[in-house]
């Protein structure tokens, strides 16, 4: 029987020691949050916003509870879509669009609410990582032809335009705590919100770190007569065009008949 060459004592103990050290370190480094992964629960008052005939905007309530004290930040993001931005310059005295840039994926809606001012809730690195706040929104250009300074101006142009129509909100809303655990936040969607699946992200922060997060979807859809008109216009365009003409012809004829002298 061949005797196995014994592992030399000088090698065996350090190997075991390192392995044990590694295991202990791993146990210590496991974030404490995972043991309390459910320290945050949140839900919306409704998950469907129906755009109907008299839609003037609406409010959705977000509510939830945390296991311990801390801050809660809520971010509502609309579906990401490509956005084209134009820049004007003076051509022969007239202002015309002379440059164009496409942002591959920009959220079509953005709103944020927090229990305390963002600067007090977490350091800039954490805010930037989770894109908390309009300044930290990541809007990447598909290609970067120009310097970062110019790219920043394009980005600022996009944000300004979306803010002007009410789709991006720079002002941070309030997350109200009732007692120490229960919180609520009102989410306002203006009349011109785009349709699609929105992501409502709720973060629970303690000591400037995100300890728990939850994402819940919010669906915004056109429902009812308007939706059917829209779908018909896009799916049966030719028939829609003919019907539009017919409606106009009949309306003109009806008006003439109504006002005709007897």
């Amino acid at each position: 029987m061949t005797r196995r060459r014994p592992v030399r004592r000088a090698v065996r103990y350090p190997v075991t020691g390192i392995t044990l050290l590694g295991l202990v370190t791993a146990c210590l480094l496991v974030p404490a949050g995972s043991a309390r992964a459910n320290s945050l629960v949140a839900d919306l008052s409704r998950h469907l916003v129906a755009i109907t005939t008299g839609f003037v905007g609406t409010d959705v309530l977000l509510f939830g509870a945390t296991d311990d004290a801390g801050d809660v930040v809520v971010i509502v993001r609309g579906p990401a879509r490509p956005v084209v931005v134009h820049r004007k310059s003076r051509v022969l005295g007239v202002w015309a669009n002379t440059a164009k840039v496409t942002f591959d994926r920009a959220p079509s809606f953005y709103a944020i609410a927090s229990s305390r001012p963002l600067a007090e809730v977490a350091p800039v690195t954490v805010l930037a990582r989770h894109q908390m706040g309009l300044d930290n929104l990541r809007l990447e250009l598909s290609w970067l032809k120009a310097s970062p300074n110019v790219a920043r101006q394009w980005r600022a142009g996009l944000i300004r335009n979306f803010e002007a129509v009410g789709l991006y909100r720079a002002e941070v809303g309030r997350v109200l705590f009732l007692g120490n655990r229960l919180f609520r936040a009102g989410i306002h969607l203006p009349a011109n919100v785009p349709t699609g699946t929105y992501q409502v992200k709720v973060f629970h922060l303690q000591g400037g770190r995100v300890v728990s997060a939850q994402t819940t979807p919010l669906q915004v859809s056109k429902i009812g007569a308007e939706a059917e008109v829209y779908d018909f216009a896009y799916q049966n365009s030719a028939m829609y065009g003919l019907i539009a003409i017919l409606v106009a012809l009949m309306a003109g004829w009806a008006a003439h008949m109504a006002f005709r002298k007897a």
């Binding site: 755009i51 109907t52 005939t53 008299g54 839609f55 003037v56 905007g57 879509r81 490509p82 956005v83 084209v84 931005v85 134009h86 820049r87 004007k88 310059s89 005295g93 007239v94 202002w95 015309a96 669009n97 164009k100 496409t102 101006q153 394009w154 600022a156 142009g157 996009l158 300004r160 335009n161 979306f162 002007a164 009349a191 011109n192 785009p194 056109k222 308007e226 939706a227 008109v229 829209y230 216009a233 896009y234 365009s237 030719a238 829609y240 065009g241 003919l242 019907i243 539009a244 003409i245 409606v247 106009a248 012809l249 309306a251 003109g252 004829w253 009806a254 008006a255 003439h256 006002f259």
Partner: protein, 304 residues
């Protein structure tokens, strides 16, 4: 009370739309024009995307023109043969116009082109109308009741392909109406107008048609050209908002009837002078907007 417009994808006050329709309809009934040149800039001003404003306005003009032409037809004031030739040119022109429109929209220059077209054409027509009405008012005061020739012959009468247009008492080349119709068709597609403000002076001065027949025939042509624009814009660009059009034309057809009645009671020359001033005012505003530094040089475009 707000209504949500499905294609424009925004909410607008119902009474604002009805009021706009009635106001522009009144003016159109008063002057015998479609009113598109006032309505389209107004729609853009209240926030409707320009492409939807142009497509929807074409739809509304169909209704206004039908309402107007029926009244003229009952009095025998429509030259159908001339109207047919005009509309053949118009159909070709408007089809080209919609294609051009789609292309310009894709490269992000549609707003600029619409504004430039408005400035150029409204400026020319407005200035011409102002001079004409000033001259007529002055002549009315000095030498009333002058006999004029039936029509003056100019270079137009030398063109080939002559046809007889009995109702207009004309024996004239068909190329001219075809050309006018074509130009008007292109304008209708790009500017969202009926084109009457170009066609009516052209019919009077270039073709030499009697004034009584001009408005009815022009409305007849406008119906077909704007219907064509409506269909093409709906089919290719999906920019016709039927709900918006219905709101506008409800007010417009009523306003037009009152306008036509008011127009019958007032002097033609003063009326044309007022219209000329209004046209020049819209032109001036659009021109000014082109030159003044925009509030934001960055703007959002359409994704193609």
């Amino acid at each position: 009370m707000q209504i949500y417009l499905p294609i424009a994808e925004m909410s607008v006050n119902v009474f604002l739309l009805l009021g706009m329709g009635a106001g522009v309809g009144f003016l159109s009934g008063l002057y015998g024009v479609g009113g598109g040149f006032l309505m389209t800039p107004l729609l853009i001003f209240i926030g409707i995307p320009p492409a939807v404003a142009v497509g929807t306005e074409a739809n509304q003009i169909v209704a206004a023109s039908v309402s107007g032409v029926l009244a003229h037809w009952r009095r025998g004031n429509v030259d159908f043969k001339m109207g047919l030739v005009l509309l053949l040119g118009g159909l070709a022109g408007s089809t080209l116009g919609v294609i051009l429109f789609s292309f310009l929209r894709g490269v992000g220059q549609i707003d600029l082109v619409i504004s430039l077209c408005y400035v150029v054409f409204l400026g020319i027509i407005g200035a011409l109308m102002l001079f004409e009405s000033a001259r007529t008012i002055r002549r009315r005061k000095t030498a009333p009741g002058q006999r004029r020739k039936l029509h003056q012959h100019n270079w137009v009468h030398g063109l080939p392909l002559k046809m007889r247009f009995r109702r207009s008492k004309l024996y004239i080349s068909a190329l001219m109406p075809l050309g006018i119709g074509f130009l008007v068709g292109v304008l209708a597609a790009i500017m969202g107008v009926g084109g009457g403000f170009v066609m009516v002076p052209a019919m009077i001065y270039l073709l030499g048609m009697p004034t009584a027949v001009v408005i009815g025939t022009s409305l007849f042509q406008i119906i077909f050209v704007t219907a064509n624009v409506t269909f093409l814009q709906a089919y290719f660009n999906q920019t016709v908002d039927v709900v918006l059009a219905l709101m506008l034309l409800s007010g417009a057809v009523i306003g037009a009837q009152f306008g036509a009645r008011a127009g019958a009671k007032l002097h033609g020359e003063e009326l044309r002078g007022l219209l000329a001033l209004m046209v020049l005012a819209v032109c001036g505003k659009l021109f000014f907007d082109l030159l003044v530094t925009p509030s934001d040089i960055y703007s959002i475009g359409v994704v193609r």
